[in-house]
Symmetry: C2
Amino acid sequence: MALISIIKDFHPLGNEKLLSRAEQLRPVLRHTIREPIGGFQLKERYSPEKHEIVLQQLPHLSMGRGENLCLDFGEHLVGYLTLELGYSGSHPDAPAFLKLKFAETLQELSENSQEYDGWLSRSWIQEEYLHVDQLPSRLVLPRRYAFRYLKITMMDTSPKYKLIVRHAECRTESSADWSAVRKLDSGDRQLDRIHEVSLKTLANCMQEEFEDGPKRDRRLWVGDLRLMAMTNAMSFKNFDLVKRCLYLFGGSRFPDGRVSANVFTRPAVEADDTFLFDYALLYTVTVEEYLQDTNDTEALDDLYDIAMQQIEYAIRQIDETGTVGGQAVKDCFIDWCEDLDKTACATAMLLYALRYARRLARRKNDWSQANFLLQQHDTLRRAAMRRFWDEDRQCFVSNGQISAASQVWMVLADACSPEQALKAMRKALTLSEGARMSTPYMHHYYVMALIRVGLLSEAEQHLRHYWGSMLDAGADTFWECWDPEHPERSPYGGSVVNSYCHAWSCTPAYIIEKHLLPERETND
Amino acid sequence: MALISIIKDFHPLGNEKLLSRAEQLRPVLRHTIREPIGGFQLKERYSPEKHEIVLQQLPHLSMGRGENLCLDFGEHLVGYLTLELGYSGSHPDAPAFLKLKFAETLQELSENSQEYDGWLSRSWIQEEYLHVDQLPSRLVLPRRYAFRYLKITMMDTSPKYKLIVRHAECRTESSADWSAVRKLDSGDRQLDRIHEVSLKTLANCMQEEFEDGPKRDRRLWVGDLRLMAMTNAMSFKNFDLVKRCLYLFGGSRFPDGRVSANVFTRPAVEADDTFLFDYALLYTVTVEEYLQDTNDTEALDDLYDIAMQQIEYAIRQIDETGTVGGQAVKDCFIDWCEDLDKTACATAMLLYALRYARRLARRKNDWSQANFLLQQHDTLRRAAMRRFWDEDRQCFVSNGQISAASQVWMVLADACSPEQALKAMRKALTLSEGARMSTPYMHHYYVMALIRVGLLSEAEQHLRHYWGSMLDAGADTFWECWDPEHPERSPYGGSVVNSYCHAWSCTPAYIIEKHLLPERETND
């Protein structure tokens, strides 16, 4: 995820105790060596037309000025590249000038990055220009890349020699322990593949923190963390990593105690000056879910106050309508969707989080707080129904707009009766234009809402359609943004900066294991 | 110097004994730290319009997308760059994407390297594109550069932060020992400055070998070595470095024993597959001059046969006219000048080298060889005069062409009587069009020929005009190519790959100390 917020003279609130505990929880990274499974040459500079090469040819292929070689590593990798370079012809009398382009997808490989003019920094484009002064040479690149494909273009040699790529390998990096997970073998090939790719997506985002994307932004966002933590609990079970991330968020916050939408961890831990209303609430949710999974009393003691602070801040954003208003609505992320009216969602998010906060208060034996939260919940729920439930249309309406997002979050928040919730989701199923959902993040909650109202087969169908169509489009890991009807869509003004292995897209493994498979077993 | 010759399946003749001795003679490199003396911003991308910055402003100057900062180190440097980078604004949320351009001259700095389309590899252009993942950051660049100016362009940051260059420094590298030389203080400012810049040029080319240019080609060429060795003998007196270079040439040669025009030393010593007739002869000359300076009997024993081999090969290139013909003429470098007819020069080069070879034979007490060489010399001299001396025009004519180069080399070769030599050089002084001299390499021999015929004040005047006009054009070190009437001239199809600190341009210090100053003292 990426958002631009700038606060002048922002000085985060630091908590040394939490940061030092987070440091102790830094995971050991695991490594493997991966080699390409094949290669090809792109004939036209920016067209995907390919000339296939078998791997055995590689050490005999020499590249002159302007020629390129694309290596296919066969799967999505996160790690460090080593190239062994040689030459043919005379002794090199000038440096080799190379351009390396790392790409997560074939489309990204063939895009012309010169043409990118979006609002995200072009510095995210995984390209390097390198001079190699000596040949033969073993080139170990210092930066980490996320890629399946590597395009090597000879910007220049000299007439006296051509370059040979004798060997290429990637030293992968991840804190995920694959020995802890079982491969799904349900007999259903699509479901098995969705499950596998979900876990691969999660594993490649599991580094020293849960990163939102190993290509971009490579850092810890609350919304992504919550979904990764859920899926991790069903698979890799690296609860220490979840704990570390919760402590990082707690360890560097807004001066008034709010949890930042994301924290930087390099060179030191520092909260970003970006606040998202829904993300701060999801922090409290994630703390409660972590405690459900672990019963970690140390974490309960350390994080309880911070988790409650987020709720209390949100409660203060309730205006004279009795629902969340003002800046808090603008501070909601919900989805990459400019048309979306987020007023109903903002209130629903608080309702949703209040349920988790209450559980947390009870866990802490903080009964007065639990009662306070219950009262707040009931008052807010009634105000929400008054303002957003449309009795005629039998769905939620946010300032005149009927969106899937409003239905989803009101349903997940238990704002209405089961009958109303079912109707709201039936309505959501009919929506196709206007405020379209664009991210797997939003689609996850959409599927969860369908499950919540009992529309299990619709939930499964949507999961298969949405994540399955990504597979059909060539995904090795699930993508940051995907609209099956608008495959080229990017929230950043250019798909070359899109992330094609993105944390918030990893949840199908969770949904399948938690909801779809048990249901099947029951039906059998 | 740079030439393109390609021989398929070229396997140089190696001599382990000489190579291992060369390795023992590898010099210790000396280092200093240099910081910028000021800076400026180039307002238009490729125009030299400048906005001056005083150094104290630097740590407060922040650079956004597309902005640049040029640092002026105040003198020509060869070494390694370190940058200390910081930022202003929010915590960097994207890598910094920088372009660094190192330039020896202000003109090079403002050239658009994209427009270069010459025959030398564009990989010589000293530009890097870098991604900096963390800020603040200390960036130590691994490659060696030759530069006075450094242009840092922000290709992209993000809207959240700007880059600050807190500190920059260059760790210089050279094997020259400045404590061994005295600064000339002749009372003549132009002469003193020419002397100083000559030595600076030599010092910056003195690395682990005598490099032809620290920017390009960064390797050992015979023609450059000879001139550097001469100037070194009058200044830094690093005779071990001369010896090392002579052993490197001897240690890897053409399969038939010829000395290559240049040798590579990295990753291992290997002769280039380029042969230059005049350069091979200059090897013999350089060996003899080294022995004059040192009386090194080990070197005499080790290199004698190889030095003689070059002469014997050249003698075999004498054709039925009694002068050097065929491929040997084509294999002559002499100068970067396409119009030049090199037939007379080729014969003159052999005559010239025969004189040094005779001295070498006498030094070795090889009297039969000395006699043989004397006979060859006399026969060749007569043939040369018959073919090239034009009695009517009282100068040397090479296939109808009267060039400075033909006069110079015939005079230096003692091909004619002193009266004829004087007339030839008087003729050379009148030549201004056609086969114009273009390099300091050729101009050096031109000045030496003027001195040889006694035209001392013309020699001094030419030296002041030619090297002095480079100073007037902003030289901090002397350039590879220079034609005062055509400042933009490049033999490579684009001046951005020109070398502006070039070994063969360092000889004024030698000429001044050896010929101009003693003459003055006598005249006093």
